[in-house]
C-alpha cells in the first residue's frame, strides 16, 4: 500500500468497497436460491444439501462477516455525509474500530452456531 493510503479512513473505505463487491457477487446466488424455493421443494432441498458443504459454509461465514462490516461502515458514511461533524478534522474515525469489532463478533457468533 502506498504510504499516503496508510490510515484508518482509507482502510475503512477499502473495507466498505470490497465487502460491497463481495455482496454484489453473492446476491445473484441468493436470489437463485429464493427462486428455487418457488419452483418446488425438491430443487430447493438439493440446493440446501449443496449449501451444507464445508466450503460453502466457510463462504457463508465470510459473507455474514462482510455484511456486518458493510453495514457498519455504511452507517459511518451516512453519518459523515448527513450529520454535522462533532469534531473538526475527524471523519468519525471512532466509528471504524467498533464497526470492525461488530463484524468480528458476528463472525464468531456465526461460527459458534454452525460448528
Amino acid at each position: 500500500m502506498q504510504p499516503l493510503r496508510n490510515h484508518e479512513s482509507y482502510l475503512a473505505f477499502l473495507g466498505h468497497r470490497l465487502s460491497g463487491l463481495a455482496l454484489a457477487v453473492f446476491l445473484p446466488f441468493h436470489f437463485l436460491a429464493l427462486g428455487l424455493a418457488l419452483e418446488g421443494a425438491e430443487r430447493l432441498d438439493a440446493f440446501l444439501v449443496f449449501a451444507e458443504l464445508p466450503l460453502v459454509k466457510v463462504a457463508e461465514w465470510g459473507l455474514v462477516t462482510l455484511l456486518t462490516l458493510h453495514l457498519c461502515f455504511g452507517l459511518r458514511l451516512l453519518a459523515l455525509e448527513l450529520l454535522v461533524w462533532p469534531y473538526r478534522n475527524d471523519p468519525r474515525l471512532r466509528w471504524i474500530f467498533p464497526g470492525t469489532a461488530a463484524a468480528i463478533a458476528v463472525g464468531v457468533a456465526f461460527y459458534a452456531q454452525v460448528w
Binding site: P3, H7, R17, P91
Partner: protein, 244 residues
C-alpha cells in the same frame, strides 16, 4: 540524522517529465534542514538545471509542495529528520498533475477546477456601499472561516485517489473553496456555486477516503467541507441571518 562531517543524506530526485528517472545526490546531513533546503542545496551545488518551485519558504505561499517518500508534503515546513528513511529521501513532483520538468508540475488544471467549482468570489455590493456586516460568530461564517485558510498547495489534490481515477473530479481544494463561498453572505451566486459543486464530477464523486484531510499541511478538513456540500445539496443552502 545527526550533523557531522561523515553524515550525508542520499537524495533520490526525479529528473525529466512524465518519462524520466531518479538520480541520486549526496547532501550533507544537518541538524536542522527542511526538504526544500535539501532540494535547494542540490540545485545550487550539484545540479543547476534542476527545476523546482518555491517562493516564501515559510508555509504561506503553497508553491513548494512535492511528493516526499511517497507522501505529498509542503517541503518548506517538512523537516528531513521527520521523513528520512534510513538516511534516504525520495523526492518526486506532485501526483495527479502534468509534469513540466523535474519537480515542477503544471498547476493550471488544479486552478481550472477552482473556476469550474464556482470558486470565484462575486460580491453583491459596489464600493460606494458600506461594507456588509457579518457576525463572525454566526454558523455560516464559522463554517467559512474553518475552511478559508487554504494555501492552494495542491497537496490534497495529489493525495486524492478519486482525482487519480477520474480526471473530471473537481478535487478537495476546489470543493473546499466552493464551501467557503456557499457560506459567504457577501457572495452573490451562492446557489450557482452550490449547483456547480453538486454537478457531475463534483462533491458526489467523493468516496470519503479522507486522504485530503489526512495530508492537508495547514490542518483543514476538505472531507468535512465536501460532506457539508452534499448535505446542502439535499437540505438547502446554509441559512444566513437577516442583515441588521
Amino acid at each position: 540524522m545527526t550533523e557531522g562531517p561523515g553524515n550525508a543524506l542520499n537524495v533520490r530526485i526525479w529528473r525529466g517529465k512524465a518519462e524520466g528517472r531518479f538520480e541520486t545526490y549526496r547532501v550533507p546531513a544537518r541538524d536542522n534542514q527542511t526538504v526544500l533546503d535539501v532540494v535547494t542545496e542540490v540545485q545550487r551545488r550539484q545540479a543547476p538545471d534542476l527545476a523546482y518551485r518555491f517562493a516564501c519558504r515559510v508555509g504561506v505561499c503553497g508553491s513548494c509542495a512535492m511528493t516526499v517518500n511517497g507522501r505529498p508534503r509542503w517541503t518548506c515546513r517538512t523537516h528531513v529528520r521527520r521523513v528520512a528513511l534510513e538516511g534516504t529521501l525520495t523526492v518526486e513532483p506532485l501526483r495527479n498533475l502534468p509534469r513540466i520538468k523535474d519537480l515542477a508540475c503544471d498547476m493550471a488544471p488544479f486552478f481550472d477546477k477552482w473556476q469550474r467549482a464556482g470558486g470565484r468570489f462575486s460580491g453583491t455590493a459596489s464600493r460606494r456601499e458600506p461594507p456588509q456586516r457579518v457576525d463572525p460568530q454566526s454558523p455560516p461564517r464559522l463554517a467559512a472561516s474553518a475552511a478559508i485558510e487554504c494555501i492552494n498547495c495542491a497537496v490534497c489534490h495529489a493525495a486524492c485517489d478519486v482525482v487519480a481515477w477520474n480526471s473530471d473530479y473537481l478535487g478537495p481544494a476546489a470543493l473546499n473553496r466552493a464551501w467557503t463561498l456557499v457560506n459567504d453572505a457577501r457572495h452573490g451566486p451562492r446557489s450557482d456555486t452550490l449547483d456547480r459543486a453538486f454537478a457531475e464530477g463534483g462533491c458526489t464523486s467523493c468516496h470519503s477516503q479522507g486522504n485530503c484531510t489526512r495530508h492537508c499541511p495547514v490542518g483543514l478538513s476538505p472531507s468535512e467541507s465536501i460532506a457539508a456540500l452534499k448535505r446542502s445539496a439535499f437540505f438547502g443552502l446554509p441559512k444566513l441571518e437577516a442583515p441588521e
